[in-house]
Amino acid sequence: MTTIQHPVHPSVDDPSHALHAESDEEFRLRLRAFLTSGGPGPRPRDPRERVAWTKAWHRNLYDAGYAGPSFPQEVGGMDLPFGRQVIYQEEIARAKVPGALGTGLGIVAPTIIRYGTEVQKQTWVRAMLRHDEVWCQGYSEPGAGSDLPSLRTTARREGSGEDEVYVVNGQKVWTSSGILADTLFCLVRTGSQESRQKGITYLIIDAKAPGVTIRPLKDLNGGTIFAEVFLDDVRVPVANRIGEENSGWALVRTSLGHERAAGSMNQAARYRRVLDELIQLAQERGLTSDPLIRDQLADFDIRVRLMRFNAERIIAGILERGEPGPTSSVSRLMLTTFEQELHEFAVDMLGPDGLVTKASDAAVQRARWLSGFLTSRAATIGAGTAEIQRNTIAEQVLRLPHDPAMPPR
């Protein structure tokens, strides 16, 4: 984990300063021009090279002043008005440039910006934006999946003054991209086990610190989407705490509403692209004349359109009334199962050919559909199961009563 301070805006020709002078359309064209001319170049096939390539691209993006569309300028972001965030996301989707590594920017950065100290904001958010560091999440534990408040990783205080540290012990699991992590953002227990969510603290842990072991978790597709993290007497400076001790739970719930809303269009665009590629494949193989396949493809097509309409509605709600409205609560539900259904349909549609893995030259499109069929199983498990999502919608949006056998929120 670095503590180097980056210059506020390294680029001489600071594009954010031009914001008020240019129209939305000019902004779009300027961004598009940058993404085209300054783009990352061809995607390497080798996974390690691909990581380096992705990091270089994001550093480039940051240095040119095009990182963190929603983040304040003080931490290196663009601080775009919401409408321009949407344009930004549309252009990013269009350009097919690589997304960020790790999950820090989406999850912990908004929390740091809102609850962090000045030093935390300056050092951490910049490091994430510039991809000098990849940040990964340490929330889940082997015993605490959907039920996060029951987590057991402990942090006890030792020493005093500037030397005061938390000594952390425990295990984290389902850390996405964990093997790339430079830094971990974790929930740890500082209160009693019984205090549940009232005894949880938010700590930032250097992934290279003594006592941290990160082991890739081989997933059902043979890849390493997740890792497990072992924390043995890891000494974490108290200054690495975000917010107060025992107040970590409230921080987890930092609203990502607007951030997500701008990203929802990106998601819809991504599925549009994936579906179009599947439709093209079906056409190439002469399958679209099969009425059953045609009907299914049309159904997927309609749902992808609905995703876009839902995203547009959420964005319009924010632009017009400052709040995303009820669509935002359910739109993710459509995405959750869509990825699974689409990939399974693709495998079925391809018949036996769809079963061939990428280890074979005979694989259809490097077995992307088959891999997707397997890895998309995580979509209904990760980030709270689909069941938990529905519970939350029912209780928080529809105001249906809480299950009496569940712990209080």
């Binding site: 439709i279 079906a282 056409q283 679209t288 045609r294 009907d295 493809l297 049309a298 159904d299 097509d301 309609i302 749902r303 359109r305 609905l306 309409f309 839902n310 547009e312 509605r313 319009a316 632009l319 017009e320 009334r321 009820p326 669509t327 609560s329 359910v330 739109s331 539900l333 459509m334 069941e387 999502q389 529905r390 519970n391 919608i393 029912a394 209780e395 949006v397 529809l398 105001r399 249906l400 009563p401 809480h402 299950d403 009496p404």
Partner: protein, 369 residues
């Protein structure tokens, strides 16, 4: 909020207030249980007090000059109370056909009456189904030798066909489809009510035997193409409104109804059902309004989007209406409860103007799949 968004919101509120006052779901029940298809006083007030009939009619014919976006909002609100009256037939089908046509004379003859609430209308295209499909016209028209025409044939599933003052009907003239206006009390016209599932939307069988008609001078196929899309989009809006109301009904009941000492809404099975149905409702509404916006702009994607909205909103409304009954349990199965009206409207409107499979096939064609 932008000006347009504010105006839409106001339109929605005005419409909702009017309906709460004069055409709530209880009023719908009262009207249909008395064997009528419309409360005519309310119909008149709707035109005079808030001008809904003229909302999407150009100002030159007495309307407010707005378009599909505004009409969609009104249809959604009418859908919430299953409004029983000739709004869809008159304002969406007949009036929009006249608005889309190039025949100013015809528009001047009929649109002002519609706007004032003095004239009701309908549109009958396919002979055997309720579809707005120029390919499915069998009725024929022949010149009467005096500048007028005579129609022969019969149309089933004509919305509000028994009560309409003006019937716009598609008929073949030497193999080409034409659009004709027929007086509701024309000679040689037989109108019979069709006993069918949805008591809140009257249907009829019309039979023409050399029935006198006036031709609407226009490219009928193009006009009907436009109206088909408007019908798809506005029906989806209506379905989204109905689904929203049915879901609210189910959710409110689940909050208060207790079984096993706890509200049934605290059970996961009910919660998950309601969450899934909220996705249905929100997506239906957003699809319908996206289609309306594209239709307002005459966007090339408008037809495709209208069919996408129809393909989703019909089954979505039916799912919500079925789950509403399921959540209500036995009480939802009774005639006395309003739940069945929603189910009947839902299934009827899902089937009437083209099935979901039909709309999916259309999406596949238009999307080049």
């Amino acid at each position: 909020m932008s000006g347009q968004a504010e105006e839409l919101q106001e339109l929605r509120e005005v419409t909702r207030r009017f309906l709460a006052d004069k055409a709530s779901i209880s009023d719908t029940r009262r009207v249909v249980e008395s064997g009528r298809s419309c409360d005519e006083a309310v119909w008149k007030q709707m035109a005079e007090q808030i001008g809904l009939q003229g909302i999407a009619v150009p100002e030159q014919f007495g309307g407010a000059g707005m378009g599909p976006v505004e009409l969609g909002v009104v249809c959604e609100e009418l859908g919430r109370t299953l409004y029983a009256g000739p709004f869809f037939a008159t304002v969406v089908m007949a009036a929009q056909a006249l608005v889309a046509a190039d025949d100013v004379e015809a528009a001047e003859r009929w649109l002002p009456g519609i706007v004032e609430g003095a004239l009701t209308g309908t549109l009958a295209v396919a002979d055997l189904t309720g579809e707005i499909d120029p390919e499915k016209v069998l009725t024929t028209a022949e010149p009467d030798g005096e500048g007028g025409w005579r129609l022969t044939g019969s149309k089933r599933f004509v919305v509000d066909g028994c009560s309409a003052d003006l019937i716009l009907a598609a008929a073949l003239v030497e193999g080409e489809v034409g659009l004709f206006g027929i007086d509701g009390d024309a000679a040689g016209l037989t109108r019979e009510p069709l006993a069918q599932l949805d008591p809140t939307r009257a249907l009829a069988v019309l039979t023409f035997e050399a029935t006198p008609a006036q031709r609407v001078a226009t490219d009928a196929a193009a006009v009907l193409g436009r109206v088909r899309d408007l019908v798809s989009a506005h029906l989806a809006a209506e379905q989204a409104g109905g689904a929203a109301a049915a879901l609210e009904m189910a959710v409110e009941y689940a909050k208060v109804r207790e079984q096993f000492g706890r509200p049934i809404g605290s059970f996961q099975a009910i919660k998950h059902m309601c969450a899934d149905r909220l996705l249905d409702v929100e997506s239906a509404r957003n699809a319908a309004s996206a289609a309306a916006a594209l239709l307002a702009d005459h966007d090339p994607e408008a037809s495709l989007t209208a069919s996408a909205a129809a393909a989703w909103a019909g089954p979505a409304f039916t799912r919500v209406a079925k789950d509403n009954i399921q959540i209500h349990g036995g009480i939802g199965f009774t005639w006395e409860h309003d739940a069945h009206y929603f189910l009947k409207r839902a299934k009827s409107s899902e089937v009437l103007f083209g099935s979901p499979a039909h709309h999916r096939a259309r999406v596949a064609d238009l999307a080049g799949i």
